[in-house]
Amino acid sequence: MTRIVIDPLSRVEGHGKVTLLLDAENRVAEARLHIVEFRGFEKFIQGRPYWEVPVLVERLCGICPVSHHLAAAKAIDRIMGVEKLTPTAEKLRRLLHFGQVLQSHALHFFHLASPDLLFGFDSETAQRNIAGLLKGYPDLALQGVKLRKYGQEVIRMIMGKRIHGTAAIAGGMNKALSIGERDSLLGNIDEIISWADASVDLARDVFLSTPGYRNFAKVSSPFLSLSGKCGEHELYDGHLRCRNAGGDFVFDEIADSGYAGLIREEVKSWSYMKFPYLVMLGKEAGWYRVGPLARINNCDLISSPMAEARRREFADDGWPVHAPLAYHWARMIELLHCAEKIRELLQDADITGGDLRVETAMGREGVGVIEAPRGTLIHHYRVDDQGLIEMANLIVSTTHNNRAMNEAVLQVAKRDIDGKKEITEGMLNRIEVAIRAFDPCLSCATHAVGKMPLQVEAVDAAGQVIWSVGK
């Protein structure tokens, strides 16, 4: 057997690698995505006081710390008996989260994924990065950078810092948004919306006009997400909804605190990332997808007009859409939705209110579920009678997509590598393109931009290197 290793994966958040096992005829026998970093947050936050948790778990990530912060804060609210925040506090949290999703989606699409889509999977490696994009498509690249910057500004004004600030506390928020801050954000929101709208055009056109994109790494699966009271697209708070590959409900309107009855996690020896599955579909058939594609497929409507029109256009292409590369299109629809909702919230009089917190009373257990940029994020905590965490269960967005990403890798390997005598860098990049579509966040904030320290070797059964490819 020959073993090919792609290590590290580039232009994804965090550290991972792919291994391919080829038989004597270079047929793909096995393809695996391994997550090689271990974080251990669930264990080491045990014994810490509950009010520390929303700030502590932010450190899981440098890209989506806000999502972890808010999911934990929602769980802590429930521990503290809070079911409803003040209108200002809830709107501030929603505004914060829209800023988070906007900046994360802009980062992924423009900085990480678009070089593949605009230059081609087999283009020069040196060109396939944000620096290449700035050279080849300067206006577009700059818009991407500015879109991200705007989202980060929303975060900074609410949390005090662009990354790893403080905002949500048990029962509310720690700071009001000043009128000056609101006006500053309103200043260029129309331009942001217009750029976001153009980004949907770009993602749609690339997907629809490039031969082979619809079937690239194609996998069919159920989709899981939060959903609003009227079945609308929901990022901050809602019930759990799941559709099967055909679009029918597997379940709907399940309270998020009931997640444990729906999802189990399987552990495999070769990865630090668990493999969740839907209990009612079983371990083998119960894998599913989350994230922008799941949310756009799952919802009945989007509560902002421009994004809703884009959702209808997306659904007209054959709902539910399963192609992994359609994640990018769905992601840009969400980017537009976030920009529209930010404007709506900034124009709401409550947003600059001063009533930030409700009374709390100590309880024992709480679940907080939020739609992070990459999908459904579950935080579940139990505290002892002294207020210290005694149990923590985190199912992070990328974990839900674990099996789907492995299936996508296998599809690409079988189509592009199976039986080939020599394997090129472009072929290997296709595997990374499939993984990148899911925007995996491997619980870290490192990126490999530019020259990637990747060396791929094919080794025969005797351990002799047959050939090697370097980037």
Binding site: G47, P49, P54, L56, G160, T166, I169, Q386, G387, L388
Partner: protein
């Protein structure tokens, strides 16, 4: 009037004043941690180390004397303070990113002021027990720097004598004066001076963390 020279500035002092008190009165900064006006100084952290007529001494305990030449802001003393701070960090478990005292912590501020960018020494990772037994007040011993301000405040201001320091070396730790050794069995209150005086995040009022936004904290 009697005077001392503080980094070349001629500063008057009153009989009985220490070098630290004399500097504070003249608005001259000497870095310090365990010293707090109103409490008897004991020079335990040594962060206020200065050079007086060529000899190292803690400014908080050294009486000011006429004609003294005191060096404060020199590269040699900066290195001494940096080493002391690094030792304080590695001898405890100080994780500023998730600490609710971040931004209002005197140890963190001192490290920023001295330009400390790394630990330099190998961390000790001491194992110290948290005491969350009291409904309103929590002790996180990981962050204690043994400044003894809580010991003095509880004894001399609150009149409760709740805290003490026990053990040696890596086993040094804050102890509670109750039969069980737990805070729950004391009459401590969240309003006590002993709670308020802690310069780091070792003694905390429960459930209040992160209420002060970034930008409004003591040292922002």
């Amino acid at each position: 009037m009697k005077t001392v020279s503080l980094d070349g500035a001629v500063v008057p002092f009153a009989e009985g004043q220490t070098v630290m008190e004399c500097a504070l009165a003249a608005n001259i900064s000497i870095p310090h941690l365990c010293f707090l006006p109103g409490f008897l100084p004991h020079g335990s952290c040594r962060l206020c180390t200065v050079k007086i007529d060529g000899r190292l001494a803690s400014a908080c305990t050294q009486p000011a004397m006429a004609g003294q030449h005191v060096e404060i802001d020199t590269e040699e003393l900066r290195q001494v303070r940096l080493s002391l701070l690094r030792m304080l960090f590695v001898e405890g478990n100080h994780y500023c990113p998730a600490c609710e005292k971040s931004g209002s912590c005197r140890l963190q501020k001192a490290a920023y002021d001295e330009g400390m960018l790394d630990l330099h020494y190998r961390p000790w990772y001491p194992k110290r027990k948290m005491d969350a037994s009291h409904p309103d007040v929590l002790i996180d011993r990981d962050r204690c720097i043994f400044c003894e301000l809580c010991v003095k405040a509880s004894r001399d201001v609150d009149g409760k004598n709740i805290f003490g320091i026990s053990g040696r070396g890596i086993d040094t730790h804050l102890v509670v004066n109750s039969k069980s050794g737990l805070l729950a069995d004391t009459d401590i209150s969240a309003q006590d001076r002993a709670v308020e005086v802690c310069p780091v995040g070792a003694i905390l009022v429960k459930g209040r963390g992160f209420e002060i936004p970034i930008g409004k904290r003591l040292y922002d």
